[in-house]
Structures are given as structure tokens and as C-alpha cells.
């Protein structure tokens, strides 16, 4: 049956409309859970608030478990889902840059827009920074091109590259997630409470 759009159950003309609806919902949830505050986001790195870690880890868990149940029951075909292609070095270096930006600015690209929406000045400056970065990147693309398109691994997932059974992988992943939640809670309790 699913995924709905590639199988033509929902025509692909609706892509943008669905994207907007999901985007609005995503933005609402981000704002409602306080993710438009840079202090909350940066809390992960300083050890006083692990909401970001918990939220994104839980979201990933719920999604994978749900998808695999749906796959098992025949409502969805995992093989048809889009897997983002892996460019190894591009991903590593990009990840480092994004991480630095995350700690320094206290936003990730999505939450910064969320924060702009509620009128935070730091977020506005952050977004301007993103735009400048985009501009520099596209102007100097010929320099970055070998890095950007190099070390291409195709649309692989961890299950492909490690060759493990996806079900066991999900189970182990769940346990890792819950252990990390417990550890993050312990760390948070040790740290001094910071009000923000």
C-alpha cells in the first residue's frame, strides 16, 4: 500500500501542499516544546538540559519501530522509502561544521527559523549567517565540488553497511537510546540547575 506518494495513492502534485502542512506541524511542535530557545538547545552540550537529545532520539525510535511494524503488516514497503545518499567525507566535514555552528549559535537550521517566527533577534542574525554561508558555498562550489561529490556510497543504510538484521538493530538501538536517556538524566541531576 504505502508509501502513499510513490505508489500514486496521493498524486505527486500534492507534494508541496503536504510539505507545507507537515512543516507547519513540525514548527508548531518545535516551538511548543521550547526548541526556539537557544539556551535549551545548547543545554545538551553543557549538560543542563537534554531535551533535544531525548526528543530527537525518541522521534527516531518511534518512527523506525512504527515503520517496521507497518512493513511487517504490509501497510508500507521499507524498500521504497527514500534513503538519503551517503557522501562520506562531505557528511563528516559538514557534520563538524554544523556541530560547531550548533554550539556557537544555539540553533539548528530548523529551530532557527522557528525562533525567527517568534521574533528572536539572535535567531534573525543566525539566519542571516546561514544565508551568507549559502552564498559563499555556492560561489565557491567549484572548490568544494570534489569534497561534495566524492566518496559516494549510494543510498545505503546502517543495516546494509553492517549487514545486521534490521529487527535486532532496532532492538539494540532502542536499548542504546534508553540507556543514553538514563545517563543524560544522571548527568543533568549532577549539574547545577540553571534557570533560563
Amino acid at each position: 500500500m504505502g508509501p502513499l506518494i510513490p505508489n500514486g495513492i496521493i498524486p505527486s502534485d500534492w507534494d508541496s501542499i503536504i510539505a507545507i502542512l507537515i512543516g507547519i506541524a513540525f514548527g508548531f511542535v518545535l516551538e511548543a516544546s521550547g526548541f526556539s530557545s537557544s539556551r535549551k538547545l545548547a543545554g545538551v552540550f553543557y549538560g543542563y538540559d537534554f531535551a533535544v537529545l531525548k526528543v530527537f532520539f525518541t522521534a527516531a525510535l518511534v518512527a523506525t519501530i512504527g515503520i517496521y511494524y507497518m512493513d511487517y503488516l504490509g501497510y508500507l514497503d521499507v524498500g521504497q522509502l527514500y534513503v538519503h545518499p551517503t557522501f562520506l567525507w562531505g557528511a563528516i566535514i559538514g557534520g563538524i561544521i554544523m556541530g560547531i555552528g550548533f554550539v556557537a549559535g544555539g540553533f539548528c537550521p530548523g529551530t532557527s527559523l522557528c525562533a525567527v517566527a517568534i521574533g528572536k533577534i539572535d535567531a534573525i542574525i543566525y539566519v542571516v549567517g546561514i544565508m551568507i554561508g549559502v552564498f559563499i558555498f555556492s560561489e565557491l562550489f567549484f572548490l568544494f565540488e570534489p569534497l561534495y561529490e566524492g566518496a559516494f556510497f549510494g543510498n545505503i543504510t546502517l543495516m546494509d553497511s553492517l549487514g545486521v538484521n534490521p529487527y535486532w538493530f532496532i532492538f539494540i538501538f532502542t536499548i542504546i537510546a534508553i540507556v543514553s536517556f538514563v545517563i543524560s538524566d544522571i548527568i543533568r541531576k549532577r549539574n547545577k540547575k540553571i534557570f533560563y
Binding site: 511494524y69 527514500y82 538519503h84 537550521p109 529487527y167 532496532i170 532502542t174 536499548i175
Partner: protein, 219 residues
């Protein structure tokens, strides 16, 4: 009083949620596994297979070829050798063994052409059709009787007997004309001999891959 009890239970809420996640993930591991259902339902496949809708007769195909209907794509599922000995004009060779290769999929899983599968008889072509039908490929047909039938009707049509109805004669004259088109010469036919045998130029057929709109993801 109730509220306090609820609050007591809810004090464990994160543990409960964590427990649910672990149980669900463990359930995935423990669930009995079975071979993934690939393609359409067996019941559906059976009813598709039983119906003779997939067959196209040699006469109709000859008509389409003579009129150079651009929407038809012929696929020869015999091996290479037989393909090189004789094949229908502009046919593409996809041996049965290579039917599920990625290159073949371009020709079979598309919605631009009406694909006609054929082999010597319709046995192998039928098998190819059934496999493709299971994978839910559309617009596939099978040449009824295959090359043998093609030979018996179009290339070497049997002369109708005197006492047969006129339709038979009409059919015969059509088939004879068709056979001339496909290169057979008749004694009473003068021109065809003089003409140097037209070499059938292999048309290059390009098939666009069915768009499976790749969804772009992003954070």
C-alpha cells in the same frame, strides 16, 4: 484522591514509556518472519493468468507492424541464437533468463508502449508474462502462438479451400499481402523480386524509465 493515585502512576511515566518502546522493539525481533510478499496477491494473479486478455493474435500484430504503429514494442524472450536467426521486425531481445535484470526492467515496467512478448510458441512468453504480472508491470501482451503461429498464418498462410466463406478469402489475401511485406516473394508477384531485399533497419527504441519520483529528504 483519584488525582493523587493518577499522579503516583504518572510519576513512573517515563519508565512506562521506555518500557513500551522496549517491548515494541523486542516484539519486532520475536515476531515470526516470513518471506516478504512481493507483488500482487496470488488470487489476483490467478484471475489475471486465467483470462486470455493478454493474448494478441498474429494477424492483429501484423496489421500493427505494417501500419508502423509506434506504440508497440516487441520483445523476444528466446535465447540470443534464435533471435539472430529470425525475429520479428524491430524486436528487442531479452532472453528469459535476463528477464528480471535491471536493464530489462526499463522495457517491461513502463507506461509508454504496449509491449508484446513472444517466443517460439507462447509457453515461455507466458512464463515471462506471469512473472512480470506478479510484479505488477502493466501494458504487457503475449503473441498467441508465438513465432510458430506467425509462420503458419502470416509468413506462410494456408490457402483457403473453395468451399470456405468469403471471410477466409479476405483473411488470406490480407495475410498474403502481409507476408509480402515481411519479405516473402510469390511467383506471380513481379516487383518484389526485382527489388533488392530491403534490409530492415533496426530501429533504436529508447524507453524512458518510469519515474519513481525520488522523494528528497532533509532536516
Amino acid at each position: 484522591m483519584v488525582k493523587r493515585k493518577v499522579a503516583k502512576v504518572l510519576a513512573f511515566r517515563y519508565k512506562i514509556l521506555a518500557g513500551i518502546l522496549i517491548i515494541l522493539a523486542g516484539g519486532l525481533v520475536l515476531l515470526p518472519k516470513y518471506e516478504k510478499h512481493e507483488g500482487i496477491k496470488p488470487e489476483q494473479l490467478l484471475s489475471n493468468v486465467i483470462s486470455p486478455e493478454r493474448y494478441i493474435s498474429t494477424d492483429i500484430l501484423a496489421d500493427k507492424l505494417i501500419n508502423q504503429d509506434p506504440s508497440y514494442l516487441l520483445i523476444d524472450v528466446r535465447d540470443k541464437e534464435s533471435y539472430h536467426t529470425y525475429t520479428l521486425p524491430n524486436a528487442i531481445n531479452i532472453p528469459l533468463a535476463k528477464l528480471l535484470d535491471e536493464d530489462s526492467e526499463r522495457y517491461l515496467n513502463q507506461d509508454e508502449y504496449d509491449v508484446v512478448l513472444f517466443s517460439n510458441d507462447n509457453f515461455y512468453a507466458d512464463q515471462a508474462w506471469i512473472l512480470c504480472n506478479r510484479l505488477d508491470y502493466q501494458n504487457l501482451h503475449v503473441l498467441k502462438g508465438g513465432i510458430n503461429q506467425w509462420f503458419n498464418t502470416v509468413i506462410n498462410p494456408p490457402k483457403p479451400l473453395e468451399n470456405m466463406p468469403t471471410e477466409q478469402f479476405e483473411l488470406y489475401s490480407f495475410r498474403k499481402a502481409a507476408s509480402m511485406y515481411f519479405g516473402v516473394a510469390y511467383p506471380e508477384q513481379f516487383k518484389a523480386v526485382k527489388k533488392p531485399k530491403k534490409k530492415i533497419v533496426k530501429k533504436i527504441i529508447t524507453v524512458k524509465k518510469k519515474k519513481k519520483a525520488p522523494a528528497e529528504g532533509g532536516c
